[in-house]
């Protein structure tokens, strides 16, 4: 996998995306911490966690883009994995509050004291240790996805049926987390965090570090996805996307491939949730709402799912638009805009922003190449059109 990655993976787009992400990871914190507030280049304090939130959403969108764009699995319940990762992080942060809570209990979080719980539920054991909590951030969504996927793919639940049962999954989880006696804060969720790894979670430095962590995590995840797609494994995934039965008849264990990429995607979503929670400062059962998961699918669709950059761009663009809409006088019209976006993208931009741009670009460069070929110079189009082979729609 690594060698194929080195052989195939190093193309320009890959380097550009990672370079931009790493540059952002450095530039935004620097501009926030080391420039004067009056400077035109200064990034205000409120903007850092906001941008960090966009990046964690981008990571979440990337996880959906990986399975939807390259394996044809449309999950309408990825918000569940995101929220589970977020809850794992939130539990760690809750344990860090210690005796500084309203009730001052050294072990029990406030809501448990409020509900008169005598002791910590078993599920909360170990969450005071950061490495354990981080392990859970990946393991809990991963395990749920593994079990869910194992059942679903083995019995060949595909297409819209899979979408609908993933939606049912997140809906069931939402109902469960709304209950107080599940032990995760019920309706209010987990909030009022103080420290992360001993640093004040409100401090600009911590927020800058969290931002940088989000950007780096996104860059790493992007590289990983790119490597997967470029590998032999990725080729099989694309084959499954385009013609699942043919891939099966050729002898590939389709369900195993799907299960691996599905579980991996859930782990990525969990990490995204873990990055989201400390920057936003709250996690509650609302994150499990099916509507959230569907909205997240539209980020991917807007960006375009034929390329891995698409979901990242889509998540950032849509969320930026959302912030811009909902904070201004246009707030009541946000749902009109979002709904319109859903329709417009599916009708007019089936390949998304990035896909359409890339297609235009490759058409242009091909025309140039053919022009050059006519004038006697050999064509140099090494990559072929992005997303080449078959269009993603054929997968459905």
């Amino acid at each position: 996998m690594i060698t194929t990655f080195i052989r195939n993976g190093i193309d320009r787009s890959w380097v550009v995306v990672v370079a931009i992400l790493l540059a952002t990871a450095i530039v935004v914190p620097v501009l926030n911490l080391y420039t004067a507030a009056s400077s035109p280049l200064h990034v205000p304090d409120y903007a850092v966690p906001l941008l960090g939130k966009y990046l964690s959403f981008a990571l979440l969108a990337l996880s959906v883009g990986l399975i939807w764009g390259f394996c044809g699995i449309l999950s309408l319940g990825h918000g569940a994995f995101f929220a589970l990762g977020g809850y794992a992080m939130g539990m760690y942060l809750m344990r860090q509050i210690g005796s500084r809570g309203v009730y001052g209990d050294p072990v029990l979080p406030d809501f448990m004291v409020f509900l008169n719980w005598p002791e910590l539920p078993v599920a909360w054991y170990g969450f005071q240790y950061f490495p354990y909590a981080m392990l859970m951030v990946v393991l809990v969504p991963g395990a749920l996805a593994f079990v869910f996927g194992w059942f679903a793919f083995r019995s060949r639940v595909t297409g819209v049926y899979l979408s609908i049962i993933t939606q049912a999954m997140t809906f069931a989880l939402m109902l469960g987390f709304f209950r107080n006696n599940l032990g995760f804060g019920g309706n209010n969720g987990l909030t009022d965090f103080k420290d992360i790894l001993g640093f004040n979670i409100q401090a600009p430095e911590t927020r800058a570090a969290l931002f940088a962590a989000s950007a780096v995590a996104l860059a790493l995840a992007y590289m990983m996805c790119k490597a997967i797609i470029a590998s032999r494994f990725g080729k099989v995934l694309i084959a499954i996307r385009d013609a699942e039965n043919r891939a099966r008849f050729l002898g590939y264990r389709v369900e195993h491939y799907k299960l691996v990429v599905w579980t991996l995607s859930a782990c990525m979503a969990g990490i995204a949730g873990a990055l989201y929670v400390p920057q936003v400062g709250i996690i509650n059962p609302g994150e499990f709402e099916p509507a959230n998961s569907i909205e997240l699918v539209v980020w991917v669709a807007v960006g375009g799912r034929s390329l891995l950059v698409g979901p990242i761009v889509g998540a950032i663009v849509v969320n930026f638009a959302k912030t811009w809409f909902t904070t201004g006088a246009l707030a009541p019209y946000w749902l009109f805009a979002l709904g319109g976006l859903f329709i417009a993208v599916t009708l007019f931009l089936p390949k998304g922003i990035v896909g359409t741009l890339a297609e235009g670009w490759s058409a242009l460069s091909q025309r140039r190449a053919s022009a050059r070929a006519e004038s006697g110079i050999a064509p140099t189009n090494r990559d072929g059109p992005p997303g080449g082979r078959l269009s993603p729609e054929a997968a459905e």
Binding site: S155, I165, A172, N245, E396
Partner: protein, 535 residues
């Protein structure tokens, strides 16, 4: 002849005299209410009850409400009525106003405590047992059963002797038995009472018998066996109740899902805006009712009959517009359809929120839909019954449309083999549009029914969309019978899980069950058989 006349006159006079004597006695008893403390008042109340004269009822009712006062000047007792700062004194027996504008200083209240109020209530129960009005007697018999006062046994017996109505007589016998159980009557009588109560067999009789199970002797044994019989009967009735609730919930699910069974099941279009069609139907009802309230209030009871076809037209028109405008470009791309229709649902929700406001809208219930009746121990409300019947009517009408009309034939032809249908001269695009309109219109009609039991708010549809999909997927796509069975099964399963697991957990269990079920039978309960590898 003359002698007969004289006798008749004499008899009449003596009767009148005895009546007036009775009235005078009652008046004395009432006037005695003003003397002494709570204890004496209580004694007077029982004395009044013992007369069994219905004329005493108003004063007792007033006493319970705290409206009985004594005039300080002569110690007579009156019912009062407060007018501003002064009181009107009303004669307790005739109901005429005796004196107006009495200052509060001139009268003194006959004070009552809870103990007295209880005494008054049981006394009233006893008095009204004799009422000439059967409904009052029935109520009174029920009240005496509830109070089970040993002192009222004789009174009940008197009433029982006079009672002609079989049902009320049964109630009275039960009331007597209840009172006997609380009294210190001999064991044989109590054993009879246990039998009578055991026959009644509801929760009230259980609470009467339970304390007896711990007593020694035949009574205890009889009570214990009666309790176990009643318990098993109650469990049966509980089961029946759950089935009814389940059918009721199932019919709601059926209504919400049946339109989806057309658009998703027959056309293969994932319509996430389906819930919003339901919402549009509910808002149509609201608008119709507003118009009727403002212009023709006398038509209010028929508002739903006007709203049903209108909701069908409104939602159906919106459906056709959606199909023509958006969905027809997306056939063969189900996941994209899902996203686009989700966008439509957001827009429709926000549009309704902008027009009607984000809060719940009040939709009235016509008078013929309020109230309830009992079958055994199962309470059936008319509005739920109406929804169950309505959902079945819609279901069978839809079946008829699909199986017996030219449009249904074309529709099935297009679903089964589009190119062939097209070659036979069927205008497939129009069939698509009308089919989608039909599914949406049915959702709109569902909205009319749901407006009766749910809040009419822009989010109304959201709460049904997942359930509807579950029903359709569970029942089997493309099969209306599957939808019916799926809806009823899920409804009943939900209601049977609720008592054990709680409403939320029950719902989660049902969802998990469906997720597992789809693994086992990916094409639902009633799958269409076919040779296609991928539908």
């Amino acid at each position: 002849m003359r002698i007969i006349f004289q006798i008749a006159v004499a008899a009449f006079l003596s009767l009148a005299v005895s009546f007036s004597a009775q009235a005078a006695e009652l008046r004395n008893l009432i006037n005695a209410l003003g003397e002494g403390g709570y204890k004496e008042t209580e004694a007077q109340i029982s004395a009044i009850a013992a007369t069994g004269d219905p004329a005493a009822a108003p004063v007792l009712e007033a006493l319970e409400a705290g409206n009985v006062y004594v005039r300080k000047s002569d110690g007579l007792v009156f019912i009062t009525e407060k007018v501003g700062r002064t009181f009107n004194l009303i004669d307790p027996l005739t109901g005429e106003i005796v004196e107006e504008g009495v200052a509060s200083g001139a009268i003194e209240k006959v004070r009552v405590n809870n103990r007295l109020r209880r005494a008054v209530r049981s006394a009233l129960g006893a008095l009204t047992l004799m009422s000439p009005n059967p409904a009052t007697r029935r109520e009174a018999a029920t009240a005496t059963f509830q109070s089970a006062d040993p002192d009222s046994i004789e009174l009940i017996e008197t009433a029982l002797a006079a009672e002609k109505d079989v049902a009320i007589a049964k109630l009275l016998r039960e009331a007597r038995a209840a009172a006997v159980l609380k009294s210190d009557r001999p064991d044989e009588e109590k054993a009879d009472a246990v039998t009578v109560i055991a026959e009644r067999g509801d929760r009230d009789s259980l609470s009467l018998l339970l304390p007896l199970t711990s007593t020694e002797g035949p009574i205890g044994a009889a009570a214990t066996s009666a309790v176990s019989t009643i318990n098993s009967q109650l469990a049966l009735w509980d089961g029946a109740q759950n089935v009814w609730y389940g059918i009721s919930l199932g019919s709601v699910l059926l209504l919400a899902a049946i339109g989806l069974a057309i658009t998703f099941g027959v056309m293969g279009v994932i319509n996430m805006a389906h819930g919003e069609m339901v919402m549009l139907g509910a808002y149509t009802t609201f608008v119709v009712q507003e118009l009727i309230r403002n212009n023709a209030p006398w038509m209010f009871d028929s508002s739903l009959f006007i709203a049903v076809p209108l909701a069908f037209l409104v939602a159906g028109a919106v459906g056709v517009a959606i199909e023509r405008g958006i969905i027809r470009f997306l056939y063969g791309r189900p996941l994209e359809t899902l996203l686009a229709t989700w966008g439509i649902s957001l827009i429709l929700q926000q549009a309704v929120r902008t027009i009607f406001g984000p809060t719940n809208r009040q939709v009235g219930t016509p008078s013929w839909m309020s109230g309830y009746f009992d079958i055994g121990l199962v309470q059936i409300t008319y509005n739920r019954l109406a929804i169950v019947i309505f959902s079945l009517i819609v279901f069978f009408l839809l079946m008829v449309v699909l199986k017996r009309t030219p449009f249904g034939l074309k529709m099935r032809a297009v679903t089964q083999n589009r190119p062939m249908a097209s070659a036979m001269g069927i205008r497939t695009p129009w069939v698509d549009a009308l089919t989608f309109g039909l599914g949406s219109g049915i959702a709109g009609m569902a909205g009319v029914a749901l407006s009766q039991i749910d809040n009419v708010s822009p989010n109304l549809g959201q709460s049904y969309i997942i359930d509807s999909f579950m029903v359709v997927v569970f029942g089997g796509v493309g099969n209306l019978w599957g939808t019916l069975v799926g809806a009823l099964t899920l409804g009943i399963a939900n209601k049977f899980l609720e008592p054990y697991a709680g409403a939320v957990l029950g719902k989660i269990l049902v969802l998990v069950f469906i997720i597992l079920f789809i693994q086992k039978r990916p094409r639902g309960l009633f799958a269409l058989r076919g040779r296609a590898v991928e539908a």
